[in-house]
Each structure stands twice: as structure tokens, then as C-alpha cells.
Symmetry: D2
Subunit: 353 residues, 4 copies
């Protein structure tokens, strides 16, 4: 009954096979190899247009490098106040951008709205040098709350951003889960909706350590190239992360893995829906879900062998707020989560005193 | 009827006299001159202990240099969410600290409370590398709302900070107004209450361009020395800012100026207190006050010759919130504000249609 | 016999008169005042074209802000390996630029040559992300060695820079001395010769603390505006540095002061030229000169009441190198240096044992 | 005949086996897993003392994170003027340190000497805020020239550093090759000789992407932890780089690989030693060597199927300098270089025109 994190799972065997296949003969280092060329071409296919691709090994690197290219050091990035870049990356975006500000915006269900952005911008004044200048909007899809923006919602947020000349970034650490859940194309969910730069995540969904900054705004490519090198994120034996991503995209492995994780999460949500022991904090749109329970229920679940993290912070904003004697738990399903584990957890909840 | 800003006023003649007196013969540059020595000694007297003094020419420089020395780049500074360092300095603290985070904390009446700080720290976890590490607390005295922390309040906030190993900073852009209002000593309001570093402001209260970082934690002196130079804030002809500060402290000019400004502000507040045309947003403790009025009243006051700024943002948090058809105005009195202007403004408000 | 530094001297009385005149009535702060408008117009006149002007209070700030706008953080600035930005500013340019590299280039007589620049660029490769990307050239006029680039030399260096798409910066801490020495116009020595950004110094030549970044490339104005604020270099009572610069430019005070300093320096050089006790290290083109002497001569001069600094480092490159038992002394004349002092120093040298 | 780079080679099969073995069951992410614990223990064994280990995926990250912890932003790092951190990392150390300066020091044979360091420090003055403050010394072992410092040389350099309170760093991108060549222990070559922090490289010698910062100064561990996270270098599925390093250290694979590479390099050097077509630029101590040849020889070798890089820059300092019509070639042998290739290259050189 392991629901701690999708980062905690291993990888499918095919990852090793793919890397072995790339392990032939000497090739030029630092990304000038056939595997890197191939993955770039595959990304162009996936997104149905020319894109520039910068592989890195962590999502934090992808986010921070992306946002550093989208905002000057005196700029600001609008993001949800519980987003990963705001809360969980030890200030990586501030570091890479030379001290830009993240402006955290509240939003129910883990999601931003154009109205909330308007409100957050109340203080800022374009052209007034006393204020940092908002320059980019960052959305997280799947959000930190496990919810998903619809294509319309993304479009409206991007419109709101563009009307103010902000650039737009999507933190797609769980990109596959979102695409799978929406049943749309990768293009639909990104540049067609107005996204300029994407952090494309693969690690949480089956790669060892492979993420990519995908640029739809090709003019940023030059800058990304230097920023990645300077950040120490240019892998010399680039064929190995490339091989992982090739295997990930080939035969739709990325979607299969994500679909499985989402289905397991759905099963779990359905099984818990009517429980009197806990209630959901947010909508369950993808492979992670948050449930609120009494401390004593929490203790019994742990004692019963369930593994998951409790969540810091205030929990859901608006409705459904956590009470004093309660905790919020995050339950994450991944590509290798089993139906047995899901059923066992549901049964355990039912049987908790 | 000029109430725009204390920065908009000139300086007392004595400032020029003092600088002229310092204009004799060659002296060693960059702070190794008798005037700089003298002002350091005067600050030690003022604070009744040894302090290290670093003159700079702007309050933003004083704040950013101070806070950069108090927090690592992966750290965070807790401050009021409408404080000058948070809102009005174009990210100077983020820049000087190498990308540390300012954690804005809400608080009524422009003031922080130990409870609000506790709440803000909910997310952070000492020693967990995924989170920025709060390292300093910054108080603004006089606050941006024109209110003043009592000595007890400062003491309690500093205790809360120290119990978590945070360093403490006071943004004293209007230090004199606060000391004058509280009737306490400079020592009482700073290190005796637990403050480690002070941004001592003089410019708003009668200097041309003279502020000082005052260190009560002398171990930071070495670092400040390099940071000031590297920021381009070491004045070569240091005798001139020194002369300003000498004149400022001598014969209690600083307190006289502040007392006058506070008194004018009190007269203004008293005269407006029962007006039906506007209401105060916050307590009036020092030389600035905020009043809420209908848009049409605002327009008439401007048309009548009053000069003041409206204030962006949500205005007062909690009680007394601004309505849709209202604005918040900031009225600032300074060392040279006249009773005539105050009376004229009160009369103008009374006579507004 | 004071020849330590032009920073050590005071200021002409007219500076105080000018500031007093600006000390009337309230004006909008932070540069939106008539005096700031006036000095901007005066700079446009001086340079015979539209320029953008950003006043600051130190030369280090002017240099670092300028260069930060000319190079990305992964860029490099070419400069003389003994230039002020390289050696004497505690890494201010590295700080303001977010970690760009200064590439120090050797050059005789304190001056860069196109050839030396070519050689320094041997390692760099445009577009190769493994190398920092040279982006700007910075010249110091008057150079740190007291020498002056001819207009042709500036033109050739700027051509060499522009052919590689580098921007060009002039550190004009002693701008007046150079213009006076060359007998050219301010325009000739800057944008007409290919300079994009100038650090215009006044402090060393008679102001209290007033320098200006002068942009000939107006597209940089927006960026400078934020960078200056963020660096804490926007003076609230901007009328006072403006008043200094107005007085400085009015009635050619800047040229008069510089001419005097240069003349005194010339007298000094002439008087020392045939001395057997010391020899000049570099050409004497302006108001500072370097002489090499035996340690024992140095001691006797100090004992005789002369005040000057010895110079660290290897001293002159190429010809004329310092020997083991010798020191290099820097002798600086300023706007208030007297003929009496110059003569006294020459006599002292003659009479040294 | 591939001699381009050790980064261009693949990895031994055992790497994949090791990672597969680590691919079992869910484990806590971000380094809190048994494989990360094991590799830390193995490093303690290897270095015969307690060390703190921070795995990263590139040598640039290891170097920049290390040096950022050893120098304040106003500090300087002394290093060879052709070292990787100086020339090839796009300013990563400047970036991570917040703008510290790298002071490049010349040295024959790619190596620093205490004398050269003394000379480089001529300009700096401890405690004088006008100068950046040298704070660390970084050695590269194997050097960029392919030479190796003896234990005595390392000891003397570390002594020189420590006598000035500098911290010491070793860039050990080719650590194994150096240890193998010297026949000493890992401890001998590092902390026993005075090194505080080591960048331990494995990628060039057989790992996919696995390097480690090894701290002998344990007080830096806290800082490294935050800096690594903030730089985006904390791998979530940490077990996989750990598995690589476990396989690398187990059964002395690291030494076997390095010994082979060194031997191939020795064969190559011996075979070329008496050639009239080229001459060595530096001593050949490990797995890379530099040869100087006429342009026409270069062209013929390439035409004959040899693959190697020419080297930018001036080439060897002092003796043996490159002539106008010559190039410098770098020939690198790796863990999988074959005797056949070496012999073929030697024969090709012999048979060239």
C-alpha cells in the first residue's frame, strides 16, 4: 500500500533496454549525438510543430531554467501560492533568475483564475521602477492539488497573461497524466492554448531522470542553451537521457503509464468516496488525490501498513478546510501501482475502528 | 497643501552649513576621515553601546544590504505583506541576497504579530532542503500604514524570531518619528528589544541623502563592508554624508524634526476625525496617515489644490476595508509641513460638496 | 603636498550654492523634479543629441549598472587587466550582472589595443555554450595609468568591438580630464567614436557625490531604470545630485576644474622629468602620474611631508618595469591642487639625499 | 581511431546491471534510500574517514556547487588560467557563487605553483573592501594539460592556501586516472594532502552521469544540501546514480578502467615520442595528451580517419609553444579504447606524407 510519491517508484525494464541500445560506439558528447537528434525530432512530432528541446535531469531544473528565460531579474512570475516552484524547490527560480519574485496567487482546487491574477496584479504598475514587473505566468498541469485545468481554462489564463505581455510557462511534471485525463493532444494542451514554454516531465511517470524544457517560443533557444550549461545541467553522455525519453514516447509508453496511474487513482477515489473516515479535499482529476481525516484515523492507517505523506500547510482553500484534529494526506498512484494495493487500502480504511 | 511624501521636502539650512564645515582640506577618501569617525562615535552614544555604522545614500540600499547579511541565498525574510521591502523596492533584497525569498505576512494596522508569523511558517521545515529556510524577521517602524509597534510588541516579535534562530532587522526609514512618538530611547526601540540590525533613516526627516546600516550584531561588520562596496554604496567623499548625519543628531535635530512632523500629523488627524467625507484606515501614530474617501471627494480635493498620493492595493486588511467607489489616500507630514497647510486641508475637506 | 587622490579633495563653494537654490518648496521625489529634468537637458546639449541619463552617487555604481545592461549573465566584459572595474570595485560588475566574467586584457601604458583584444578572444567561440560569451568592451578614459586614448584609438577599439557585436562602455571617472586633455568635444570622445554607454564622473573633479550613466543606446533606458532602483541607487531627493551636476556643467566648471588639474599634473611631470631620483612609469596625459623610485627615496619623501599612495601590482607592463627595491607611486592632482604644492614636491625630490 | 573525449564513450554493461538491481520496489525519493546510504558508506571507506557525499550528474555542477560553498560572493577562487572552471563551464562558478571572481593563474605544464599563486595575490589585500577577497584554491587533478600533481606538490599548494586561510578544492573529473597514475590512495591525494572538498568524477571513466561532491570539511554539508536542491541537482530517483557509483567503486572498477585508459595513453605517447610529425606539448601523466603538429599533418590525419579535437588557446605556456602554421591536438584514451586503435593511430602518423 505505497502511495507516497510517483518519484519513489522504479522504472519499466524497457528503459534499461533503450539505454543499452544507445550504448554503442563513441559519439560526440554534450548533445551532439544521434539519440539527442532523434528525441528532438520526436518532440516536434509530438507537438505537431517545430520546438526546441533542452533535456535536463530534474523538474526543478526544467522549471527554473524556463522561468529564468521568461523574466528579467527585476521581474515577477505569477503562480499558485501552493505551486511546486513557490513552495518545494528551495527558491530555484529565484536563484536562476537572479532574484526575480514569485508572486503567489491563491486559488481554489489548486488552480489559478484570471480573476485571481487580476487581483494579484493590483499592486504592480507597468513601467514604474519601484515595483517588480510581472513578466510571466506559470501554470502547473496536473496541479499540486491533483486537479487539471481544462483547455478552456488554460486558454483563458494564457489570454489574460498575453494581454499584459506576460510569457506563459507550464510546469508539466505530470504532463502525461494531464494529457491522458483530458484526452487531448500534447499540442492542444500547450502552444495551441497559448503556452510559450513547457517543463515536460518524464521521471515521475517511468524515466530514471529525464525531463525536458520544450520551447514553443524558439527565440529563447539561444538563452536556454547558455543557461543550461551554466547551471551544470548539460549532460555529457546525452544519449542516455535521450534514450530514456525515446523509450518514453515510443509506442505511447508515456500515455499507457499515465493512463494506468490515473485509473488506479480513480479506483481509489471511487472506493473512498463514501467513506465516513475521510473526505476528499479537491477534485480527483489525475493520479494524485488529497484526503482529510482525523489524526486517529491517520495513525491507524499507518499502523495498518499504508504508506503516504501528510501535507503541510492550510490545505484546501475555501470549502472543505481541515479542522484542528485532522490531517491532510496525499495519495499518489504511479505507473506500477497495483489494483491489489488500491483495494487493500480501501479495505483498510473501511476497517479502521 | 502638500502631503505627498516626506521625500519631497527639502532640507534644513543647517545641513548645508554642516557640509561646508566638512569641506576643508584634503582627507583620506572612502570613509577614513574624521567626520566618519565622529558620526560613528555619535551613533555609539545614541545607542548607548558599541555599534558598527555603514552609511549609504538610500533606504533601499540600507535595507537590502542589511537583509543580505542576515539571510543565506536559500533563506527567507519574514515581513509584512505591504512592507516597503516587499512592495516598493523593485526586489532589491532579492537582488542583494542572491535570490532569497521575502515571505509576506498579513497583519492588521500594518503590523505583524507573533501569531501571524507562526502561521506563515506552517509550510517551512527547518533542515528540509526542499524549502527555503526562513532566516530573518524584518519589522518596519514606523510601519507602512503609519502605525507604530510598542516596545512590548517589538520585544515579543524579536523573541518569536530568536526562538527560531532568526535574525532581526528594523526598517527605520522613519526611525525618528517612531522614537519621538514612543518617547523612548533609540536603544530601547532596537537592541534592547532584540533588534540585530537597523536601517537608520535620515533622508525623510531632513537629510539630503543619508541613511545608515547600524549593526548591533558586530560580527556582521566584515560582511557589510564588502557588500556595501560591491553594491557601489561606499561614498568616496564620505565626509559629506557624515556631516549630514552629524548635523542630524546634533542638538537633537532629528527628534525636533520628527516631533514637528508627528504633531502636524496629529493636528491633521484630529481635524479630520469627525469628518463625514472620509474615515481613517489605520491608527495615526506618527507622521503619515491613510484616509478612505469616495472617488468624487478625492477629485474635489485635488481640484481644490491638495497634493497627496492615492494608495494602491487592497488597503486596510480586516475592518474598514475600502469600497468599490472609494480610494485610499496617504497624507504625509514632514519636518517643514506648516500648520497653515494642515488647517487649509481640513477646511477644504469640510467644504467639499 | 597632497597627491593622494582626487577623491580626497573637497568641493568648490558653488556646489553648496547650487544645492541651496534647489532647496525650495516640495517637489515630486525620485527624479520627477525640475532639476533632474534640467540636468537631462543639459546632458543632451553637452552630447549634441538625445541621451538618457541616470544619476547615481558612485562611479562603481555607474560602471556596474552600465555593464550589467550590456552583458547577459553568461557574458563577458573585456577590459584592461588593471582597470578599476577589474581590480578596485570588489567585483561590483560581477554582482550586478549576475556573475558575468571580466576578461582582463594586458596592455602597455594602461591601454587596450585591437590586437590584444583579438588575442584575448582566442579561447572564446561565439555560440558555443561551453564558453562565456564576450558581449561588451569597457575602456577607461583617463586610463588607470593616467594615459589617454586618442579619438582614433577609441574609434578603432569600438570598431573592433562592433565587428563582433559587442557593446561598448567608457568608464569616464575622469571624463573631464580626458576631454580637456584631448581638446575635443564630449560627443567626439563618446558616441561619435562608437561608445554606447558612458559612466560620467563628476565626484573626482568637484562634485560631492554625483555621477551619471549616460546612454547613447536609448533602448537600454528601460532596463537601467529598474536596475538602478533595484540596486538602491535611485536617490529620493534627486534634486540635490541634479543640482551638483548642473553647477558642474554650467559655465564649463567641469572643464575649468579639469584643465587646472591637468596643468598642475603637467607642471609636476615637467619638474620631475629630469630627476635622477625617480622616473615615470607611463606617459603623463592627464591629472595622474606614476613614478618609480627606490624604497629609500620613498621613505624620505614621506618623511618630508609628501602624501601619496604607492601602487600595488606589477606596475608598468613591458618597458620600464619596477625593480625589487623600488616602489611605484601614484601622484594625483585635482581641481584645488596648488602650484605651491607642486613646486614644493619637486623641490623635495631634488633635495632628497 | 577515436580520441575525442572520454565523455564520448559509452559505459560498461555492469552499469546497467547495477541499476536494474536497484530497480526494486518503491523507496523514499530524493536520496533517502538504501542505495544512497550505501554509496555514502563506500565513500567513507574509500577515503578512510567520515565524509559527506552529494551526488550530482555533471562535473560542472560538482565544481560550481563546491566552490560556491567555499567562497563568499565577494571572494575569489584561484585556479589555473586554462582550467575547466575558468574556461569551459560557461561561468558556472560565477553563477553559483553569486558573482565571485575566478583568478586565473598561469603555470607551465597545466599546473599551479606556490610561486605563481604568490604573484597572483600581489594585488589583493586581505580586509580591504575595494578588492575581492581570495578565499579558495582549486586544483585540477588530472590537470587540463593531462599532467598530474605529485602528492608533495598538492601538499605544498594546500599549505600555501591554508597559510592564507583559503579553502581548497580539487576538480577530480579524472580522479581515478590520477590515483591510478600516482599509485597512491584516494585519501593520500585529497584530505591527507590538505584538500577540503573534492569533485569526484565517474562519468568520464565509465558511469552514465554520476559525479559527487565529497566534503572533508563536514561543516559545509548543510550548505551543500540547500545549494544542490536550489540548483536543481537533487535527483529524485537517487538510487540510480547511487547504483552507478556503487558499481563504479565495487571490485575496483574505477581503478581498472582508469588503469586501462592510462596504459593506452602511455602506449600512444611512447609510439609517438620519436615521430618527426608531431611533438608533445606537455608531460603525459595520465589518459590525455597534447601534441603539436603542422596544419597539413592535421589534415592528413583527419583524412586518414583519426578523430580528435584541436585545442583553442595559446597552447603550452613557456617552452614548446605552438607556431603559426601548427595546431595543438588533444588525444584522449578511455576505459574502452583499444590497443588496435592506438597502434593504428601511431601507424597513421608514421605514414603521413
Amino acid at each position: 500500500m505505497f502511495f507516497k510519491s510517483d518519484n519513489s517508484l522504479g522504472v519499466p525494464e524497457v528503459m534499461f533496454e533503450a539505454m543499452k541500445k544507445a550504448n554503442e560506439g563513441p559519439v560526440t558528447a554534450y548533445g551532439n549525438d544521434p539519440w539527442t537528434d532523434k528525441i528532438t525530432a520526436m518532440f516536434c512530432d509530438l507537438f505537431e510543430r517545430e520546438v526546441a528541446v533542452f533535456m535536463v535531469t530534474t523538474g526543478t531544473a526544467a522549471n527554473a531554467l524556463s522561468l529564468a528565460a521568461l523574466t528579467p531579474s527585476w521581474g515577477a512570475v505569477l503562480c499558485h501560492n501552493e505551486s511546486h516552484i513557490m513552495v518545494d524547490e528551495c527558491g530555484a527560480t529565484e536563484f536562476y533568475s537572479g532574484g526575480a519574485k514569485l508572486m503567489g496567487v491563491a486559488g481554489e482546487n489548486g488552480k489559478l483564475t484570471p480573476e485571481a491574477i487580476n487581483q494579484a496584479l493590483y499592486y504592480s504598475e507597468p513601467g514604474n521602477e519601484h515595483y517588480v514587473q510581472p513578466a510571466a505566468l506559470s501554470l502547473t498541469q496536473v496541479s499540486e492539488a491533483g486537479t487539471i485545468y481544462t483547455l478552456d481554462e488554460i486558454g483563458m489564463l494564457c489570454d489574460a497573461a498575453r494581454s499584459r505581455n506576460f510569457k506563459t510557462h507550464m510546469d508539466g511534471a505530470r504532463f502525461a497524466n494531464a494529457v491522458s485525463s483530458l484526452g487531448c493532444s500534447a499540442a492542444d494542451m500547450t502552444w495551441k492554448a497559448g503556452i510559450d514554454v513547457l517543463s515536460f516531465g518524464a521521471t515521475k511517470n517511468g524515466a530514471l531522470a529525464a525531463e525536458a524544457v520544450v520551447l514553443f517560443d524558439l527565440e529563447l533557444a539561444d538563452e536556454l542553451n547558455y543557461r543550461r550549461m551554466r547551471g551544470g545541467h548539460l549532460i555529457s553522455k546525452s544519449r542516455f537521457p535521450a534514450a530514456q525519453l525515446i523509450a518514453y514516447l515510443q509506442d505511447d509508453l508515456w500515455l499507457k503509464n499515465a493512463r494506468h496511474a490515473n485509473e488506479m487513482s480513480k479506483c481509489l477515489a471511487d472506493g473512498l468516496q463514501n467513506s465516513s473516515k475521510l473526505r476528499h479535499a479537491f477534485d480527483v482529476d489525475a493520479n494524485l488525490q488529497f484526503v482529510i481525516m482525523k489524526n486517529e484515523v491517520h495513525e491507524k492507517l499507518i499502523a495498518g501498513g499504508a504508506q503516504f505523506y501528510t501535507w503541510p500547510g492550510r490545505g484546501p482553500q475555501g470549502k472543505n478546510a481541515k479542522q484542528e484534529d485532522e490531517i491532510i494526506a496525499r495519495l499518489v498512484c504511479g505507473y506500477s501501482t497495483t489494483k491489489e494495493d488500491v483495494d487493500a487500502f480501501i479495505a483498510l480504511v473501511e476497517n479502521v475502528g
